[in-house]
Point group: D2
Chain length 322, copies 4
């Protein structure tokens, strides 16, 4: 088994999850880490005996890697992916693809032209409980979809700025839109109403709405809605509900390694709490694909673009309530 050399741009919450997973694999060496915060970059790099960079582009330019993880804020996407494409370096990128749609579309074009291997962190796709639902809905298509992202405002300075994060629908609720596409199929109509942030803002349109409600129609004929809010004291409810002929499914993410599936049918309710780690699973699948051992990547850049475009459309269609 030849060893895989990987780097990671970004050292935030989700980067930490990826680095922990990568470090746990026998055949992987984390050789480089970048963060604009030099102190963080140094500390994280030290814990992996890796080199530290303050600019991801420098990392990409200097290191000889088998794959790179791009875990940067929404507004920081674009140049990094383009650099990886130019170097024919397979990349795993965290959602959202970007704070806007244009950047993601441009990168998608480059990736496709280069035939580059990619993966995107829609990690629910790597959960066994999600795959169980997928098999169920293949036989008995859902008629009604409900999705939720009811949470606090994440305590990072850029998040509450629509022009930086893309807004809650694009940055968080995108996971729910991805599940909607995976389990119910493509969406043909989307329309959103929102509650704008109030108070004295210099650029009120830049403030991420406090809450929003999205109406969906699917190509299959199913209908649905997605509710988002950022005004709770903590994560309250993140998940989906499906109703089909004779059944209901609820799927909730309580934490990244704590998912619950409940299936109700005429014979009763079956539920399952999963402590599976979807981050490790998606990282392993991408590494195996890079190494040419297998191909279980469940969300490529091209596939993720469709989800990103849906979340973007939901945000753009938004009109104020009241």
């Amino acid at each position: 088994m030849s060893r895989l050399r990987v780097g990671c741009v970004g050292t935030g919450f989700i980067a930490g999850k990826h680095l922990a997973a990568l470090a746990s694999f026998d055949d992987v060496d984390v050789v480089a880490v970048a963060d604009t915060d030099a102190e963080r970059a140094a500390a994280v790099a030290a814990s992996h005996e890796a080199r530290a960079y303050t600019d991801g582009l420098d990392l990409l330019g200097a290191e000889d890697l088998d794959a790179v993880w791009l875990c940067v804020p929404p507004f920081a996407h674009g140049a990094l992916e383009e650099a990886a494409v130019r170097r024919a370096l397979p990349f795993f990128v965290e959602k959202p693809l970007a704070h806007d749609l244009a950047t993601a579309e441009r990168v998608a074009g480059s990736v496709e032209a280069a035939g580059l291997r990619t993966a995107v962190g829609y990690h629910w796709r790597h959960l066994d409980v999600v795959q169980r639902v997928r098999r169920l809905v293949e036989e008995r298509p859902p008629l009604l979809f409900s999705g939720y992202w009811l949470d606090r405002t994440p305590p990072v300075p850029w998040w509450a700025h629509r022009g930086r994060s893309g807004g809650q629908l694009v940055e968080q609720t995108t996971h729910v839109f991805d599940l909607a596409r995976l389990l119910v199929g493509e969406v043909t109509d989307v329309s959103t109403t929102h509650v704008p942030a109030s108070g004295p803002h210099e650029q009120p349109d830049d403030a991420v709405p406090l809450a929003s409600s999205v109406a969906l129609r699917f190509a299959s004929g199913a209908v649905g809605s997605v509710s988002s809010a950022r005004v709770l004291p903590g994560r309250h409810r993140v998940g989906i509900q499906l109703v089909g002929d004779g059944y209901a499914v609820e799927l909730d993410e309580r934490a990244i390694v704590d998912h619950e599936l409940r299936l109700t049918t005429a014979t009763g309710v079956v539920s399952e709490q999963s402590l599976q780690d979807p981050i490790a699973a998606e990282d392993r699948a991408f590494l195996d694909a890079v190494a040419g051992n297998s191909d279980d990547v469940r969300c490529t850049y091209a596939e993720a673009l469709r989800t990103h475009a849906l979340a973007w459309a939901a945000d753009q269609s938004s009109v104020r309530g009241g």
Copy 2:
């Protein structure tokens, strides 16, 4: 204490609940019962030592009552209410007011002209747990509303015909619309997508949709959605969810005498299962109002008309999914 003489038109499920409540009051005599099914009318009347009728209009014509309960199917409303108005007989009527809007508007006009005392069976309004939520939202208005009526198709022959029942939104989900108005305020925009019933129907437009998703905008600026389905093996979820600044509320009806309230704030979750009987409470309130003792009627005909009009608008705005 003078005794109150009451009658009841209809002997179905909810009529049975009202008759049980009325029979439990010391100051009430149930003196007459009507049902188009003569055998049922006789059996129910016998158990109350009351007279039996097969036509509610005959009952109204023959009996000297202090109040009458009208618990008939949606399509059977109109003439009964008009007859009660002509006799200046206070009436309690079950939801929905009618299978359509025109009938209810006509009755509302007559009731108002006559100044007649009425009450409508939006029984959630008589629950202490609902009043607790009401006090909460007066201080901290909701930003996001979600409502649900996920159930089986009721096993009565008229229910699945839109032209008879009015459809699920008008017949069942109307309780959810009533809570939306009570707790979030008036709705300014409503639009619905639905999944039509499939299969060989002679009059497909008459079949109640299998599922529907309603988008709402409120005068307060809040936004929301309502999900309904009739394809489950039994009652799955009937209730609402509210999100406001720093809190979330869930309120569910598991059975008519089994409601659950959950309130999540920064200090944790408080929940309460209530075994209060809202049917007995609304009946007692109406009787006390009729007797002139107090006025705690929480939903008059005029108030109910606004809820009915909202449910009707939701159903009328409905377009097919897909």
Copy 3:
């Protein structure tokens, strides 16, 4: 398929469940029903187009049956079973076998001497969720057992009299003792403390204790406890908990057709609500055995006697708390 002729002695709650199950089978005719309350006997018999008796012994003497169900209060056992044995009539008897141990031991001797086919209503044994636990514990034996019967005092006049019902441990908690034997194995030591009923009783020793706590040691080395109480406003908790190396199991009976299994392991929690009808299942198994088609009777009289003796020993070992 030849038809099976059956009778039922007793028309109480559990007799009603058995009669409903028997009536649902295509190959069974309920031909006779007995109850000491002549009116009840007549009403129930009429609904099955069966003959009514006020004395079960008369029923056994007059009818030509393939099997009989004995669903009488604890104190009424003995003569009926002996009569069935004399007539070589297979019988299904509800728990408890009797209000005392001597009667059950005497009947067991007669049944064994006659080689008669019997079944006893420890219905949990016919639940799939219980069989799942059984397979689990065969591989990984439990170390710790906890059982519960926390309920109201049943509203029948004989129940609160120890000399009539046998007491809560013998009459209700016996199901928990049966599960303990089935899933953990035989018990070698049992000792109980109880809270006696207070207040002015003529025969205080005849009053069923308000609560009791039973300590158990098993032949396997496992240890455990059983908690019972009759002072709740309704059924609060009926079920068991098992702990073994690396797992915990909870199994609860919310209603006779509503059981919940929860299994916790290192990978998370799996739970299942079962709406299986164990009464119909045990009745069908007994009928199939009587007809010679198969033998899936899961609790014979001899097997039930061991459970009854354990419950009896728990009650007899009881000393007052405080």
Copy 4:
């Protein structure tokens, strides 16, 4: 407001909670920290700008303190407390008081002779939800008690040695015994069966049992049981259940800052998740008492000794199952 100078001996899990609480108070300076692990002592001390010691006795000898926190393993108690007594230094000590009874009795004698102010970390006593239950049981005494500590084996080297930790009953389940005393009253009889640890142990009697079941009788006449196990993959259930006339209470600790109370009565179920921090509360209460501002210490050394003696008696009475 004069400032309070405090030290802490021990830097483990619970010491960390106390240090975080102490550091959060405006009027407290953490001036010294001790741990036998010099590196840990230095790191923790540095984060509080405090002096580091590797021997708690040295800390007590060198520092001029208003109070000290003693958060050491069970076997390390005795000399520290005696040193504090000699210096008339008020101390807060974590449970258990010691790995045995003799040490705790000796310290209790010294504390009493000196009239020293003390507090012990039975932190449940500082939870509002526990006080709510206390008020309830004062009016309606419990009849039946059940307690649980179903958990993994804590990953510290001394824990699984009875001669070092005192065993699970003394080290963990002591919280449950404390609640039993607080809410039901003193225990008059205690007897335990256990499942010994199997496998090749040099000193098998030193191995903490895998599971145990304790039977309790209370002076009030109530009865009960306590179940403990250390074979689960993680914390499974830690808490108590009380049954009294017409009610049941469940109280669970999911984490130190996550408790749930459920109260079932005839009117339904009321539950409350509390995110109150009982560690901060008990620390604040002790500091206020030390400063002479108020006295809300809920568990003194003398009071804790009674709980410790009960847990010790439960462990000593233990006989093997099977």
